[in-house]
Amino acid sequence: MSIPVSWYLVVSAIIFTIGIAGVLIRRNPLIIFMSIELMLNAVNLSFVAFSHYLDSVDGQMFVFLVLTVAAAEVVVGLAIIVSIFRTRRNIDVDDMNILRG
């Protein structure tokens, strides 16, 4: 027996929504990053589910791509956060509003 693809998609949607809520609500950039990772991995999950369902490896290739990009993004993002912390001693994203109109 196999789990129907819709279950995977529901889980993926739930995780994605948790990610969005995290990005929108939390003020700690590290948590925001983790939320972004959640969103990316929710998408990965749906990719893999579809790949299995459609019996095609294309979706798995996209997952590798997303993983690579996510890793690179985290590297850059953490570097920026460290650099901001060094100058401001504070990394609350709501205080980073000097571009306000």
């Binding site: 969005i20 990005v23 929108l24 609500i25 994203v93 709501d94 980073m96 509003n97 000097i98 571009l99 306000r100 109109g101």
Partner: protein, 684 residues
């Protein structure tokens, strides 16, 4: 025939270029070397050119024409049988008429350059070189004007002398009155330039060429094919608008008296001897047109006559010595136009030459007086100067006698030739036109009397009586050991007045000599020598040879008795004018303001300036101010400010979207994505 005209043109231009590029860095002797050297050599070349024309009179204009380059050579312009190619070449014409003008321009110009070296001595180095660079520029422009062989380059010269005049009137640009006068001269001259330009358009439209005569390249000319007709009259009148503006004739004379704001050598050179005679030259040059249009010629004569008496009457009451001379210049130019109006072009040119001598002399002598008094121009503050300024006095007296028409000085010959021609033309012309010329003759006689009167009012006012001023302001440091009792008012100043240096008096003496003998190139028929009329003979090819003129000028023959009558009357009136002035002012000039209405009218120059201010300048100023407020302020500024306001308010609203909170942006992205998803979902 060697043609040196291009060098006469190039040398002053070279001087101008050197002085305007490097003049500020040059020492005064170097500036003078460049300025005087170039004009002096130009004069020498003009003299050589004159001799060559005099030695072998050219058989046709093409013989003296030199085409330097062809500027425009188009294909046929227009359609049909009138389609002509437009060929404009830069050519220089050396014929008797331009040779005479070149002599006057470079000769008087050179003398005045010498004089200026003394007169402008007190200016700073930079101003000194600026003055001479402008003067050289003027000589260049004037030479271009008189030696151009087509209407287009005549217009170029015509415009450039106007520019030189503007620059030199406004030479002392720190003085508000000087810049205003310069502007006035420029504006009125541009009215004339405009007339000349329209005339040139009409000439090209009608004749398909702008050359004066058939030139050495084979381009056909316009003057030797002038045909009568309405167009020709229109051309003549437009040309005369240009002449009236340049030569300060009614109704465009207003700029010349104000032009006296310039340095005195400028007044002598530009506003008495050369530039203002350009109109007389143009009428003589384009006489082929005027000959076939009797209406235009009559208008020239009548306006000349009216100007002559009008300006002379104003001169009688003026107090500023330079303004008296300015109005006198306008009046004498009126004589020249009267003469040309009576078909006596060589008579007009003759008076142009003699006038250049004695009027330049009068201005330069007046300049010497002004120089000695440290800038004083008001006759009320002069008097008795004949004891202190001996050379100035004698030369001024000679010039005054010459302009008053006292024999055998130059003015006598030229003025009487003009009056004789007017009388002869009047008696040869039947009907109303003849009557008009009798009237013009009478006006000429009365003006001769007025001229003598105001000139000797000037002589008496400046040189006779008691000194009424307080001495020159600039030379006021006391000479040690001289204690002068000041029991006579102004007497102390009187002894500090000195004659001008030799560099200024020598040109005066040379011009005085020419003022005496300059008239002997005219006709001696009055005294039996029927074959002695060198100037008329010299100029005759231009006026009678068909190569120059389609219809040769037939000067009316003057009967000897009529000539004697005219001469007798004019000399009589001249002497009467002199005696009147001497009798009236024998105890020295005394200014008495009269409340008489007529006196007030003439004293205020017929209120022409006030009238113009009221009817032309004030409405224009009002219009300008209204336009600047309404159009510029409310419409243009208001419009652009309105646009800026709209964008400003919109941006102020929109900037609120930029909260700076990252989550807001993320939310916006989320909504965007949702909208896109919905769109694709709905579209299916």
């Amino acid at each position: 025939m060697t043609n040196l005209t291009v060098w006469i043109l190039a040398l002053p231009l070279l001087g101008f270029v050197i002085l305007s590029l490097a003049g500020r860095a040059m020492a005064r002797p170097a500036v003078l070397t460049v300025a005087l050297g170039t004009t002096g050599i130009a004069f020498l070349f003009a003299f050589l050119s004159f001799l060559s024309v005099h030695g072998t009179p050219p058989s046709s204009p093409a013989a003296g024409d030199q085409v330097i380059y062809t500027w425009v050579n188009s294909g046929a312009v227009g359609a049909g049988p009138n389609a002509n190619p437009l060929i404009i070449s830069f050519g220089l014409l050396l014929d008797p008429l331009s040779a005479v003008m070149l002599m006057v321009v470079t000769g008087v110009g050179f003398l005045i350059h010498i004089y200026s070296a003394g007169y402008m001595h007190e200016e700073s180095d930079g101003e000194f070189s600026r003055f001479f660079s402008y003067m050289n520029f003027f000589i260049f422009a004037m030479v271009l004007l008189v030696s151009a062989d087509n209407f287009l380059f005549l217009l170029v010269g015509w415009g450039l002398v106007g520019l030189a005049s503007f620059l030199l009137i406004g030479f002392w640009y720190q003085r508000r009155s000087a810049t205003a006068a310069a502007l006035k001269a420029l504006v009125i001259n541009i009215i004339g330039d405009f007339g000349l330009m329209i005339a040139i358009f009409l000439i090209f439209k009608t004749y398909g060429t702008l050359n004066f005569y058939n030139d050495s390249n084979g381009t056909i000319g316009v003057l030797n094919q002038a045909a009568p007709g309405l167009t020709t009259t229109a051309i003549c009148l437009l040309l005369f608008i240009a002449c009236a503006a340049k030569s300060a004739q009614l109704p465009l004379y207003m700029w010349l008296p104000d032009a006296m704001e310039g340095p005195t050598p400028v007044s002598a050179l530009i506003h008495a001897a050369t530039m203002v005679t350009a109109g007389v030259y143009l009428v003589a040059r384009a006489h082929a047109f005027f000959e076939v249009s009797p209406t235009a010629l009559l208008i020239v004569a009548v306006l000349g006559g009216l100007t002559a008496i009008f300006a002379a009457s104003i001169a009688v009451f003026q107090l500023d010595i330079k303004r008296v001379l300015a109005y006198s210049t306008i009046s004498q130019l009126g004589y020249m136009f009267m003469s040309e109006g009576a078909h006596d072009y060589s008579g007009g040119m003759f008076h142009l030459i003699t006038h250049a001598y004695f009027k330049a002399l009068l201005f330069l002598a007046a300049g010497a007086v002004i120089h000695a008094l440290g800038g004083e121009q008001d006759m009320r503050k002069m008097g008795g100067l004949r004891h202190r300024l001996k050379i100035t006095f004698w030369t001024f007296l000679i010039a005054a006698l010459a302009i008053s028409g006292i024999p055998p000085l130059s003015g006598f010959w030229s003025k009487d030739e003009i009056l004789g021609s007017l009388l002869a033309h009047a008696s040869a012309t039947p009907g109303k036109t003849g009557d008009i010329f009798y009237l013009l003759w009478a006006i000429g006689l009365i003006t001769a009397g007025l001229t003598a009167f105001y000139m000797f009012r000037l002589v008496m006012g400046i040189f006779f009586g008691r000194y009424r001023g307080s001495g020159p302001a600039q030379h006021s440091e006391e000479v040690e050991g001289t204690e002068i009792e000041e029991h006579i008012q102004g007497h102390g100043g009187f002894y500090r007045i000195y004659e001008a240096p030799a560099v200024m008096t020598i040109p005066l003496i040379i011009l005085a000599i020419f003022s005496v003998i300059g008239g002997w190139i005219g006709s001696f028929a009055l005294f039996g020598a029927r074959n002695w009329h060198p100037l008329e003979t010299f100029l005759s090819p231009v006026f009678t040879n068909p190569a120059w003129s389609a219809t040769p000028v037939a000067s009316p023959a003057v009967s000897l008795s009529a000539q004697w009558l005219s001469t007798g009357l004019s000399v009589g009136l001249g002497v009467l004018g002199i005696l009147g002035a001497v009798a009236l002012y024998r105890k020295g000039f005394e200014y008495k303001e009269s409340k008489n209405d007529f006196y007030q009218l003439v004293f205020h120059k017929y209120y022409i300036d006030e009238l113009l201010t009221a009817i032309l300048i004030n409405p224009l100023l009002w219009f300008g101010r209204a336009a600047s407020q309404l159009l510029e302020g409310d419409v243009l500024d208001g419009g652009s400010r309105g646009v800026a306001w709209v964008f400003g308010r919109t941006s102020a609203g929109l900037r609120r979207l930029q909260t700076g909170y990252m989550r807001n942006y993320a939310l916006a992205i989320l909504f965007g994505v949702i909208l896109i998803v919905i769109y694709f979902a709905v579209r299916g």
